[in-house]
């Protein structure tokens, strides 16, 4: 069964600095999709970024980028120029794009941004 591991329960970053959140996963599939979702205190799940496994190029969305290492099954999220509004729980999620499309989530990393 596929699993997603986030080994950093909590992280802290200074405003305007850069932080990297780690995620590893386990799968025997060759084609799949990876996501980072942000969950602020309101507890809404907000998509941050997605990566298709068949694409070698790392996805970027403004200040958010990923380092996707397929062989190592690693998918880290880099947040540049951190802002106070980035403070949230961040979940890494995996989807094998199969018939049901269910997402498998990691346990999350709580990011604090210090002013």
């Amino acid at each position: 069964a596929q699993t997603v591991t986030q080994s950093q329960p909590e992280m802290s970053v200074q405003e305007a600095e850069t932080v990297t959140l780690s995620c590893t996963y386990d799968t025997s599939e060759s084609d799949y999709y990876l996501f980072w979702y942000k969950q602020p205190p309101s507890r809404q799940m907000i998509l941050v970024i997605r990566q298709e496994a068949y694409k070698q190029q790392n996805a970027t969305e403004n200040r958010f980028s990923v380092n996707f290492q397929k062989a190592a099954k690693s998918f880290s999220l880099k947040i540049s120029d951190s802002q106070l509004g980035d403070a949230a729980m961040y979940f890494c999620a995996y989807n094998d794009g199969g018939a049901t499309n269910k997402l498998i989530f990691g346990t999350g990393t709580l990011l604090a941004v210090q002013p």
Partner: protein
């Protein structure tokens, strides 16, 4: 921008009572999902729904749970006889999957269910 909506935002119920959680997915989406998140824990998949039937369900989704798309817009999750351990945030999500691809799932704001 289209979004998934959920009602109610909060629900308090007595153990053994039935609850219905409602969701309105994004209008052109074809796949619908329910997830749950117990406080302090990760988000867990409950069920996926496509073409008016369940595509997959998790071990959590036992006979106490059911889903329905009663009309062209709503998607509901019913818990027939609630238990204390059903207390959680319940998220609805929807996606529009094309053949050979995987579309992003968009989440609603969640319904916080408290069973007393």
């Amino acid at each position: 921008e289209p979004e998934v909506t959920q009602t109610p935002s909060h629900q308090v119920t007595q153990m053994g009572q039935e609850v219905i959680l409602r969701c309105v997915p994004i209008s052109n989406h074809l796949y619908f999902y329910w997830y749950r998140q117990i406080l302090g824990q990760k988000v867990e998949f409950l069920v996926s729904f496509y073409n008016n039937e369940i595509s997959e369900k998790s071990e959590i989704f036992d006979d106490q749970f059911s889903v329905e798309r009663p009309d062209g817009s709503n998607f509901t999750l019913k818990i027939r006889s609630t238990k204390l351990e059903d207390s959680a945030m319940y998220f609805c999500a929807s996606s529009f999957k094309t053949s050979g691809g995987q579309e992003t799932q968009y989440f609603g704001p969640g319904t916080r269910l408290l069973v007393l």
